[in-house]
């Protein structure tokens, strides 16, 4: 039996698309350039290649279609029947047959035209032969276009069929529409089938999987079946009939006790009897659903009778399967999918029945030895009669018992919270279970920080004792300190001495300040000042003040200074000329000078000092030295003055690039350098 994977069938292209694909491929994959002047054999070859190539492609693609679509006779009869029900076997076969003929036709066309091309004598003729060949092939394909479309639709539908394995453990759910088959399915498997109040909500088969005793069971949900003669059934019902007919499964026939599906128990019983032929050799369970609306005991006599009839039928299947004595519970079961009452029981019963049946079959078959290990679990033989139960320590048992009791007694915090207003309103007192020496202290807040210390660091049970010791120590220490302090006071200065010291320090700091001021300008100043005493601070008055501040009598010093100093008076020069010890206060002299004054109208300048005269305080030794110094000074200034420089630092160049130096030819000589 060939296994077909319905989901892996390649897409069947549209007629037009098909042609486009093949022709464009031909154009791309075969050489395209050809000229009139080529050798004839080359031309023929060129066009023959194109024709053959096209034919080959068509052949390939059509073959894949034919091969991939399943042959209804070769697959499992369940699938065969299902496909027949859905798509009509005859149409299907016809479509595939057409494809096959198309394939053959194309081959023939290609053969014929290649033969003709062998004798083509010009480019034009070969070309038109090729065009004709391709055209005919395309027409063939165009004619099978509808079949291709039909096959494409089938392919799409087949890919969506539920993947039902016909050989594994399967449970089939059947019954009238709206009895609760899909709800039951939803309850025991993870399938999410549509459940709606209208009939024929389920329109096709649905598969779900469930587990029982570590084995996987397929559960198939079918569309509802109505009680009609076989010929009148529609496609949807036929699906379920097919499933019933071909799958070796446990059948759960659903019965709606309450009649809320719209059909009475009598109708349902009638259906049961009409399809019971399909239940041959299958474990059958009758499930009474919707017991929440109408319990089984509450139905009328007639209905009960009908139900019992169905039950006896079901029992027959039990007995027929290998003589298990009447196990009544496994045949007629009640449940309600709404309240989930009895659902698991139904599932277990069905799985059990199916399992037993399959085991029996396997036991009877020849391959028993291969799978015997799956049925039989070996247990060790008992060595002696001693009982060895599981060992649980007594403490654990007691603890478990206590735990159970405690759980029930205690009031939880959550309950408290709910009572007092919920999460936002009530905040639990975290301190209420504290174990303290005195219960009044439970709500105390202790400060954590005091004066820059952590209070926790100081806590000590005997802190009071230690504190006392410390205070005693401190007392002693302070007494000692005072003793020490008295020793030190001997050597202080008296008030007078302090005043004197202050004065000394003041004077010293002033001297230092002055020196610093002078020092800072020393680099830029000549060491010898230009003129002695420019600020005129060296006066006798000042000298007198300073001397008296030191405690000396200045009068003698002042008078001596006065006598030594020279005033700028005329008498001086008069003295020089006469110089005989004449009395300066001679009247004649005065008269003489007066005369001189009266006569000369020209005002001669006031007599300045002669050039070489040394003034004390200037820093020069004698007249000769001063004259030499004056000469040197003049010499250094001479060159500058001639260059019209204002001073030592005057380096101004009025014109940086005078034109006459940087340009011009010379009347004689070279201008190699400037």
């Amino acid at each position: 039996m060939v296994q077909y994977n319905f989901k892996k069938i390649t897409v069947v292209p549209n007629g037009k698309d098909f042609i486009d694909i093949i022709l464009s491929r031909t154009q791309r994959q075969t050489p395209t350039v050809v000229h009139k002047g080529y050798a004839i054999s080359r031309l023929r070859q060129f066009y023959m290649r194109k024709v053959k190539y096209t034919q080959q492609n068509f052949h390939e693609k059509l073959s894949t279609i034919i091969d991939e679509f399943p042959r209804l006779d070769d697959i499992h009869p369940f699938y065969g029947d299902l496909l027949h029900v859905l798509y009509n076997k005859d149409h299907y076969k016809l479509a595939l047959g057409q494809i096959n003929t198309a394939r053959n036709l194309i081959s023939k066309i290609a053969k014929d035209y290649v033969k003709l091309l062998k004798y083509g004598d010009s480019l034009y003729r070969c070309k038109s032969l090729k065009v004709a060949a391709l055209g005919r092939m395309c027409t063939v394909i165009k004619r099978i276009g509808p079949s291709l479309a039909y096959l494409e639709q089938i392919r799409q539908h087949m890919a969506r069929l539920p993947s039902i394995d016909p050989n594994t453990r399967t449970m089939l759910i059947c019954g009238y529409p709206n009895v609760g088959k899909s709800s039951f399915m939803n309850k025991i498997t993870r399938a999410d089938v549509d459940v709606q109040p209208y009939a024929f909500t389920t329109k096709s088969l649905f598969v779900g999987h469930t587990d029982y005793k570590y084995l996987r069971y397929q559960v198939i949900d079918t569309p509802g079946i109505l009680d009609r003669p076989f010929e009148d059934r529609n496609i949807i019902e036929m699906c379920s009939i097919t499933a019933l007919a071909h799958l070796r499964a446990a059948v759960l026939f659903f019965l709606d006790i309450s009649g809320s599906c719209g059909y009475s128990i009598a109708q349902q019983a009638a259906l049961f009897h009409s399809i019971k032929s399909l239940f041959m050799n299958k474990p059958l369970i009758i499930v009474c659903n919707k017991t929440d609306l109408q319990p089984l005991d509450g139905i009328s006599e007639e209905d009960r009778k009908l139900v019992m009839e169905m039950k006896t039928e079901a029992m027959k299947t039990v007995i027929g399967q290998g003589g298990e004595p009447t196990n009544e519970e496994g045949v007629l079961l009640t449940m309600s999918t709404l309240t989930e009452d009895g659902v698991i029981a139904v599932k277990n019963a069905a799985c059990e029945r199916l399992l037993n049946q399959r085991v029996e079959l396997k036991m009877k078959s020849k391959k028993i030895n291969d799978c015997l290990n799956r049925f039989h679990v070996a247990l060790p033989k008992a060595r002696d009669q001693k009982e060895r139960p599981a060992c649980i320590p007594q403490a654990v048992l007691e603890a478990k018992a206590k735990q159970a009791a405690e759980k029930e007694k205690r009031k939880t915090e959550k309950e408290l919270e709910d009572e007092n207003g919920g999460a936002g309103v009530y905040s639990a007192s975290l301190r209420k279970n504290y174990i303290l020496a005195n219960d009044e202290w439970k709500e105390d807040t202790m400060p954590e920080i005091l004066d820059g210390h952590n209070v926790y660091d100081f806590i000590d049970p005997d802190i009071l004792l230690r504190l006392e010791e410390l205070e005693r120590e401190e007392g002693l220490r302070q007494a000692e300190e005072e003793g020490d302090d008295f020793e030190m006071d001997g050597q202080e200065l008296s008030l007078e001495e302090q005043e004197a010291l202050a004065e000394i320090r003041k004077k010293k700091s002033l001297l230092i300040q002055q020196h610093r001021m002078k020092k800072s300008t020393a680099e830029s100043r000549p060491v010898v000042p230009r003129k002695f005493d420019t600020d005129r601070k060296f006066t006798t008055r000042r000298m007198g003040r300073q001397l008296s501040s030191l405690g000396l009598d200045p009068s003698l010093a002042i008078s001596r200074a006065r006598s030594k100093s020279r005033g700028r008076k005329r008498e001086r020069s008069v003295d020089k000329r006469e110089g005989d010890g004449r009395d300066a206060m001679d009247i004649d002299d005065n008269q003489a000078s007066k005369k001189l004054r009266l006569r000369s109208t020209s005002r001669s300048r006031s007599l300045s000092r002669p050039p070489g005269e040394v003034i004390p305080g200037e820093g020069l030794k004698d007249s000769a030295q001063k004259i030499k110094a004056i000469k040197l000074a003049k010499k250094s200034v001479l060159k500058r003055n001639k260059n019209a420089r204002r001073g030592e630092a005057d380096r101004v160049i009025p014109t940086l690039k005078p034109k006459h130096l940087f340009s011009g030819k010379r009347s004689i000589g070279k201008t190699q350098r400037r």
């Binding site: 660091d457 030190m488 200065l493 008055r541 030191l550």
Partner: protein, 168 residues
């Protein structure tokens, strides 16, 4: 909530201040302000930086060993709450603080005492050497007390000037 000590300058870090740095070997460094943090990042040794407590303790400027320091010790096991104990502790903290600060200031005073003696000696010497700047030796010979002479200016032409400052 705990008050920590700044790792660099040893001042207290209150909550909400400073930075905590955790090194890859899981040692935690607390800093009171960015000054200490930046110094740390520059890898300066607090024992060499003059203004830190570490320097001061190392060089004997501040009191190092004292029984008052033993009262404050980081405890890792919490004690059960006792109201009386808490009250006593709070009172004790204040007293201990006072004693400790007294002792610390005494320590500093003692330290500075030797300097005082030296300075007095120096002052005496300076007085002796520099007395000629304020009182001429001649005047000193006549009147050996140290009272400073008053300024008297005997100039024939000018008027007597009293209360002249010594400098111009």
């Amino acid at each position: 909530m705990r008050l920590e000590k700044c790792w660099f300058c040893s001042s207290t870090v209150y909550p909400g201040h400073g930075i905590q740095f955790v090194r890859n070997d899981a040692k935690i460094f607390h800093f009171c302000r960015s000054k200490c943090h930046k110094n740390f990042k520059m890898k300066r040794n607090p024992r060499k930086v003059k203004w830190t407590k570490a320097y001061r303790r190392l060089h004997g400027k501040d009191m190092t060993q004292d029984s008052t320091f033993e009262f404050e010790r980081k405890r890792n096991r919490p004690e059960r709450y006792d109201r009386n104990l808490a009250e006593n502790t709070l009172k004790a903290i204040k007293k201990i603080d006072k004693i400790r600060s007294d002792r610390a200031s005494d320590h500093i005073k003692n330290r500075l005492k030797t300097g005082k003696v030296q300075r007095q000696k120096e002052a005496r010497k300076q007085l002796e050497l520099g007395i000629h700047l304020v009182k001429a030796p001649l005047a000193l010979a006549q009147d050996s007390s140290l009272c400073l002479p008053k300024i008297k200016v005997n100039v024939s032409q000018a008027q007597t000037e009293e209360n002249q400052p010594m400098e111009d």
